[in-house]
């Protein structure tokens, strides 16, 4: 009899909002077989010895009384309760590998500065990777472990030193960040305090002036004195801040000089020449060749306008009108139309100019060129 297996439905899963772990409804503890359906807050823990997962309640039940054997069939390793932890990676193999790498890295923690050449450093890294690979895949476990222990025994002190250095670096970095934040906060505080001071002083001054006025002193002198006092206070304050800023700048330059880097080989930038003022006429100038413009023309038509405030208020100069009139009087005086047009006609004939028609009913227009 054949049994046709029903197609397996896809597991329904959703992500735990707190831990971000994907939880599927069919998660079942291999030990007690309790499912999430009955127990919504089911959590799985894992032991790095054998990487078998079981639910929290099983861990409590089995290992609370001391180390016991792993309950999964076929694995009898002794496990302790405190070594159980939440699985970080979905894939258990990845989890195992990461743990191994962490262990190896904790021992083999040399840096590049310790090696003379890059090649040596790379060889070292290669060896470390070999060991890691062997450990992960369980190849030559005995030999690898022996190498491991030999190294640890030989360079124990250095390992410790390196570890210390790493820790210190991390600490100093976070300390620097903290310092920056604090400085910013202080600056903000100082600014706020200054504002308050100013406001307070203004109030004081005003009160002082009022008091003096009330006690019957002359208004003007009181006002002047008040202003003088206020000004003096402001000047003093400004001088104080200036001095402080200078000190700060001096300090900064000290520290800067120690930690600054000098850029070699900067190109000296040449300042661009200042642009010449724009000439609106583009180099053209009109020259009066037939007349010289006078300052005053006695013709009454122009005299009225030059005295009329309505005309002159807007900046209009009557000489512009005179100039225009005179230019109009002479522009073309030396142009002899008959000769120039016959000349042009001859040139056109020589070039065999074509006369175009511009869409008229009657005439062809001779083109002007």
């Amino acid at each position: 009899m054949s049994r046709i297996a029903a197609p397996k439905a896809a597991p329904v899963s959703k992500r735990d909002p707190r831990t971000g772990v994907v939880q599927s409804q069919d998660d079942v503890c291999p030990v007690c077989k309790s499912a999430r359906y009955m127990n919504p807050s089911l959590r799985f823990l894992v032991n790095p010895e054998c990487y078998h997962k079981m639910c929290e309640s099983c861990v409590d039940r089995i290992f609370s009384h001391g180390p016991a054997a792993c309950p999964i069939k076929g694995c009898g390793r002794t496990l302790r309760k405190h070594r159980f932890r939440e699985q970080t990676f979905e894939d258990i193999k990845v989890e195992r590998e990461v743990d191994i790498r962490k262990k190896v890295g904790a021992t083999f923690n040399r840096r590049e500065e310790d090696f003379e050449t890059l090649l040596a450093f790379n060889d070292y890294l290669n060896d470390v990777e070999d060991i890691t690979f062997n450990l992960i895949n369980g190849i030559d476990l005995e030999e690898t472990n022996k190498k491991f222990e030999a190294y640890t025994r030989a360079h124990g002190k250095e390992i410790e030193e390196n570890a210390q250095m790493a820790v210190q670096e991390r600490q100093s970095f976070s300390a620097a960040q903290k310092l920056e934040r604090q400085q910013a906060r202080e600056r903000r505080e100082a600014a706020r305090r200054e504002e308050e001071e100013e406001k307070r002083e203004v109030e004081e001054n005003r009160r002082d002036v009022l008091n003096r006025l009330a006690s019957g002193a002359d208004a003007e002198t009181v006002a002047k004195e008040g202003q003088r006092v206020q000004l003096k206070k402001r000047m003093d304050r400004q001088a104080a801040t200036e001095r402080q800023r200078q000190l700060q700048a001096a300090e900064d330059t000290q520290s800067e000089r120690n930690g600054r880097f000098i850029i070699k080989g900067l190109r000296t930038k040449q300042k661009p020449e200042p642009e010449a003022p724009v000439d609106p006429f583009g180099g053209l100038r009109l020259v009066d060749s037939y007349f010289t413009l006078q300052d005053d023309y006695i013709w009454e038509g122009i005299q009225e306008a030059s005295k009329d405030i309505k005309q002159t208020a807007g900046g209009y100069d009557v000489r512009d009108y005179a100039h225009r009139s005179l230019v109009a009087a002479f522009s073309g005086l030396g142009v002899f139309v008959a000769d120039e047009m016959t000349q042009r006609g001859q040139l056109a004939q020589n070039d065999c100019a074509v006369s175009e028609s511009v869409g008229f009913k009657d005439a062809e227009m001779i083109s002007a060129s």
Binding site: G283, L284, R285, L286, V287, D288, S289, Y290, F291, T292, Q294, D296, Y297, I298, W299, G301, I302, A322, R324, S325, L326, V327, A328, A329, F330, S331, G332, L333, G334, V335, F336, V337, A338, D339, E340, M341, T342, G345, V358, G359, F360, K361, D362, A363, E364, M365, I366, A368
Partner: protein, 390 residues
Amino acid sequence: MTQHLNEDDLYRTSSQYRLWSFSPEGLAALRRKTHELAITRASQYATKSNSYDGQGGAAVDCLTSEECLRLVQRYLDQVRTTSDHFKWPIPVKATAVQYLARFYLSNSPLTYPPKEIYKTVLFLACKTEATHMTLSEYARRISTPADEVLAPEYKVMQALRFTLDVRQPYRGLKGVLMELLNLAEGRVGEAEGVETGGAKALQAEMQALEMPPKTAQTMWRVKPAGKIESKDQMDRINAAYSAARTILDGPALLTDAYFLFTPPQILLAALHLADEPLTSFYLRTKLPLDSDLRPKILTTIAACAELLDSFSGSHILSKDERAALEQKLEGCRDPSTRDLVGSHAVAKRGGDGGEEAEEKARKKKAAREKHLKEGPAHSPVAKSSSLASG
């Protein structure tokens, strides 16, 4: 880097110099060509119309080129009077007259009778010279429908080659007046390159000028007492100015002066006709005796003065003569330009396939009216009673 232009160079950049200046022979040739083209067209449409009527192909009696010219001149004068009727300043008048003259250099009265064109030209001139009057107001005052005024406008613009600037001598004449008055007062001393004895000497020279000859047009005549005072001097100058102005207003516009000479030459010619000694004196202070342009300028001015002088008011057609010519024109004009308003409307609408467009427009209109009459209930839209199953 700087390029120096003098006033003549400035004039050479103007469109009047580039497009609307001719030698006398050139001008005559252009007019002749225009007229010949018009005549050939006339014979074409004349034969067409004759074949419709079934008559023999007799040559139509067209206007001669002389008659065309005189008819155009009559309407130039008509433009002048109309502009005075509107009380527009003289630049408008001059511009309008020049537009009409330029239009008839490349078109013939046989195609576009001036009666239909001159109102448009005047309206265009008033727009150009910044004395704009609204179209409805203008049409009302000139007692013509507004679209008749507007219809030929684009053709006019084409004929003008879209150059609307007309250089005129009036402002220049004012400038000369200003300078002459200052000369008389003894204020003007130096002139470029001209040897003068200084301002006072010039003033004295002016006062010692001889009287204007009898043929001069100025009204000023020396007092019998004889001695010239500065006030008389001013009177003389002002009289010369007004006489010159009258000449510029009339003969200068109605002749071909604007085509053959430049505005300074025209105004100096008018001054020359008004008061010859004064003008010669003035030119003496302007042009150095040894310059090579001087004789040429003087001859040009003299030629222009002759042209202006040769014109007389009696040359213009009288009313009856004009009527007679227009009647003759009716018989020989181009029939396709009869309906300027219609062709303008068609051009505005989009031109090609005008007849089809008209048909469509008519059909649409008829359909719309029918629809309005019968009401929406009878609309041909089918009621969707059956729903097709998808």
